[in-house]
């Protein structure tokens, strides 16, 4: 089909047209030619070979002062402000400020001390904001001064290449404290400073190698460019640096003549954030797939799968950060890496009622939750760690609208997500009989542990572990209990009940408890032993742990490959299998979300491609879905039909080479 299109191309116009189907054909042909042409150049130039796992975004590395400054700037904007984290970052900052002379260092320390002294237990919003602003206004000029100090040191040590380079490197790293905001609000300033850094590194000269090829420094050129950076930083961030009342705390270059405050700054997560997913991926088990059902005919599930992977059903900032349900629940299983300073206390957890993702639904207190495993979710109602929703549908809607600021989802989309989630199955576990008892395959230790699991304990008022984790009911009792693990609002309040979690699959969802405070199953056994006076010996604790691990294990919990591109592309075709259904029902908005999601996902995963000559095909596929989105925007639905067909044809032709 594609070859035919190539032969039929007569106009030679490379312009992508979305106004009509005929125009599109011309555009597609030329784009395909361009793609193949690009493939030729790839062959000629041997374009870069992306390494394995290229879609994993490397963590940015920062100067320690910059790392603390940027993290602190982010969390000072939160409500509540995590003051302990702020204090810890202030300590890091002041350690970096020891580079100053004693007087300046003492002055900064005093300022921080005075600001922190104002912290009280019951601060109103205004007081909280004032203290936060105060700290930001102390730290910003200090970081800027340090940058200038390092620049001047570099300038003063030009005759000692290594010393000059070390100071210049520090200064350049410190510039990362401000450059994100400068890039987006002052592009001319950003370029001017960027050029100055290049001039500086070049005019530094080179010590040569083994007394050969030395290049002397150029002091005048160095001084000129150092002055450009110093003056810009001094004007914007030093001295009486102030943030206007009620403005977000961020280092905007307001004093620059080319500053444009109307420009949007993309959200940037603070240093220490991790939103990449784990690899190898957990093995997802969809019930209908296990039964051998043709996925092309389960369109509602396909729609739900797409929505689960789509940042575009959520609002900002989750959407702009490209966070989706799948980011935290990778293939329905806990992402143990996910973490955002100020919103997580540990990896694999998040305060979902915070001021960052959806300020309107902020509950005003810091209560991060461990990200739950969603395997077998249709068997584990109620939902939420505290069982706050009986209905999965209500729970999911709340996640979209209130936790992640999305608009009210279309009922069909909601139906899709629920249909998809109802397919999430537990891992098969040959150690368990249907009634939850252990099979003969289980070890002797596990068998002894099973007995302990069923034993009534006086410390638990004659109840056993199995009372709540009912083996015959997927190890849940569908009830909420207060075990005293929650921080209560007052001594006699009754707000600490939590939903009984299943033990199935638990081996792969560490850490444990609602806030992930316990790192291992053994630690959980010990906690119960100590808090409920179970009186278990060391050996019994080991047996109980082995039992829970046996119950919580399963066959092939993880995929056996690190390569995900092939299966991702297959999944995108699955997403698109909902197209005809959505079209018949006039759900063009949902089709648009589907197309946007596929476009985004192709770009996110394409760098994993093993044979770079097919990169052009992946780009063409993404371009096709992107154009289809644009066609929807102008109600040109015929073109969408053509483009979807072209996408499918491209995939059919190249699927076996796209891995």
């Amino acid at each position: 089909m594609l070859k035919k299109n190539l032969l039929n191309n007569e106009t030679g116009s490379g312009k992508t047209a979305v106004s009509n189907g005929v125009g599109y054909k011309t555009g597609l042909c030329c784009r395909l030619i361009a793609a193949l042409n690009y493939a030729f150049w790839i062959a000629v130039f041997g374009i870069v070979n992306a390494p394995l796992l290229a879609h994993i975004v490397p963590s940015e590395t920062y100067h320690p002062v910059t790392e603390s400054y940027r993290r602190m700037s982010f969390v000072l904007n939160l409500n509540p402000v995590p003051w302990e984290l702020v204090k810890s970052d202030i300590e890091n900052l002041t350690a970096g400020f020891e580079e100053f002379d004693a007087e300046r260092t003492a002055q900064i320390k005093d300022s921080f001390r005075e600001a922190l002294a104002e912290l009280g237990e019951e601060m109103g919003p205004e007081e909280r904001k004032r203290i936060a602003r105060n700290i930001f206004e102390i730290s910003t000029p200090a970081v800027a001064d340090l940058l200038i100090e390092q620049l001047e040191r570099s300038n003063n040590s030009l005759n000692d290449y290594r010393a000059a380079q070390a100071s210049l490197d520090s200064a350049r790293q410190l510039w990362a404290s401000f450059h994100h905001e400068v890039r987006y609000t002052d592009p001319p300033g950003f370029k001017k400073i960027g050029m100055a850094w290049l001039e500086l590194s070049t005019s530094l000269g080179s010590p040569g190698f083994l007394n050969d090829r030395a290049v002397p420094p150029e002091p005048e050129r160095f001084l000129t460019n150092m002055s450009i950076i110093r003056d810009y930083v001094a004007a914007n961030y030093c001295g009486e640096f102030q943030v206007p009342q009620d403005s977000r705390l961020e280092p905007l270059p307001r004093a620059s003549v080319t500053y444009d405050g109307s420009r949007t700054i993309p959200t940037k997560l603070p240093p220490g954030s991790e939103i990449n997913k784990q690899l190898p991926r957990p093995r997802q088990i969809l019930n209908m797939a296990e039964r051998g059902v043709d996925e092309g005919e389960t369109v509602l599930i396909a729609l739900g799968d797409m929505a689960f992977d789509s940042p575009f059903i959520l609002g900002h900032p989750a959407r702009s950060l490209l966070i989706s349900c799948n980011t935290c629940h990778n293939k329905s299983i806990t992402n143990p890496k996910f973490s955002i300073p100020g919103l997580s206390t540990r990896a694999g957890g998040l305060d979902v009622s915070n001021s960052f993702f959806a300020s309107h639904a902020n509950n005003g207190h810091f209560d991060p939750l461990d990200i739950p495993d969603l395997r077998g979710i249709r068997f584990t109602a109620p939902y939420g760690r505290n069982g706050r929703f009986d209905s999965l549908r209500e729970f999911v809607r709340n996640v979209i609208v209130n936790e992640f600021n999305g608009s009210e989802p279309d009922p069909v989309l909601m139906d899709g997500i629920i249909a998809y989630m109802l397919e999430f199955d537990f891992l098969a576990n040959p150690n368990l009989n249907l009634d939850g008892s252990l099979t003969d395959l289980a070890s002797e230790e596990a068998r002894r542990g099973e007995e302990l699991f069923h034993r009534p304990y006086r410390g638990m008022n004659g109840r056993s572990c199995a009372t709540c984790h009912v083996p015959s009911a997927n190890f849940v009792d569908h009830k909420r209990h207060d075990l005293g693990t929650m921080m209560r609002s007052s001594t006699f309040s009754r707000d600490g009940s939590l939903d009984t979690p299943t033990l199935l699959g638990i081996k792969y969802s560490a850490p444990y408890f609602h806030d992930g405070r316990l790192p291992t199953i053994q630690a959980v056994s010990v906690w119960f032993n100590e808090n409920f006076d179970l009186g278990l010996t060391e050996r019994e604790l080991g047996d109980l742990t082995t039992y829970v691990e046996t119950v919580g294990s399963g066959i092939a919990a993880y995929e056996d490959t690190l390569q995900t591109l092939e299966s991702e592309l297959e999944e995108f075709s699955f997403f698109l299998s909902a197209y005809e259904f959505l079209k018949q029902n006039g759900k063009w908005e949902l089709i648009d979300i589907t197309l946007q999601t596929i476009t985004h996902e192709i770009h996110a995963h394409k760098w994993d491609l093993q044979d770079p000559q097919y990169m052009s095909i992946l780009n063409l596929m993404a371009e096709t879905t992107e154009d289809a989105s644009e066609a929807i925007a102008i109600d040109n639905f015929e073109t969408v039909d053509v483009l979807v067909a072209e996408y499918r044809a491209l995939y059919a032709e190249y699927a076996d080479r796209l891995y």
Binding site: G46, I47, V48, A50, P51, H55, L168, S201, T202, S206
Partner: protein, 292 residues
Amino acid sequence: MKNRKLLLGIWLLPLALIMTEKHNLAAAESNAELRIAFIAYQNPDQLLENVKPVVGYLKHRLGMEIKEYVATDYSSIVEALRNKTADVGFMGPLQYVMAHRQAGAIPILGEIYNGKATYVSQIFVRKDSGLKKLEDLRNKNIAFVDPISSSGYMYPLDIFRSKGLTDKSAEKFFNRVYFAGGDEQAIRAVYNGFVDAAGIGQYSFNLLRSEERDEVVAIGTSRPIPSHCLVARKGLSKKTVEKLQEAFLNLSNDDENSYLLKYLYSVDGYVKVTHENYLEVEELGKRYDFIR
């Protein structure tokens, strides 16, 4: 009887010598220490921490004490090899051939990335720049990495020379030539539009975030560059070199320990190399006056 004593004495003397020699050899083995100089491209303290498992593996495998050093520049490694404070060190190809000339160093292992013991330099431009071929860069600005760099200067320079665009120097062809001070700084200088092009090693591209990579494209590629290598000092015993080669080669094939490779600059593995592998680098080094 006397004769018997003498006879016994004659027999015993060589035995004592052998025993003494054996004893000395054993002492030499047990006291032997191999000193490895690692190159730190970023954080030396972190690298020292990262290589600990590798050092542990080598210690076990070679049956020798291993002393690890971290250097932040290649000159220090060559100096260490020259004055025998290090026995082996990691080095770039150009630095190796210069060190070979000046200190008699020899390469013993080459790094493998993506299944190859070579890599390339490329000339990157922004896709939206309208720059399609190398000739388009005449009188434009370019960033290289460092004045003494294989993939970040000499080989990119050679891309232009092989097209007849430059001679030994880039100055006449370009408007401004910058040395960005690092791979990431150079590729970002292009991405951010500070310069028109960057001449850098192919893997620099991966330092861009995935969404940024679509903005830049390579319009020229160098001849293959032999990969970075582990270099032995002049005079290091053949036996030690062979044991070391065997230990590193074994890492690639040893499922249990292959994870250690990620601590060694994330290589896929190693291959034995000799000076022959670097003859072309040497030739280019002469052409561009790195070697005189």
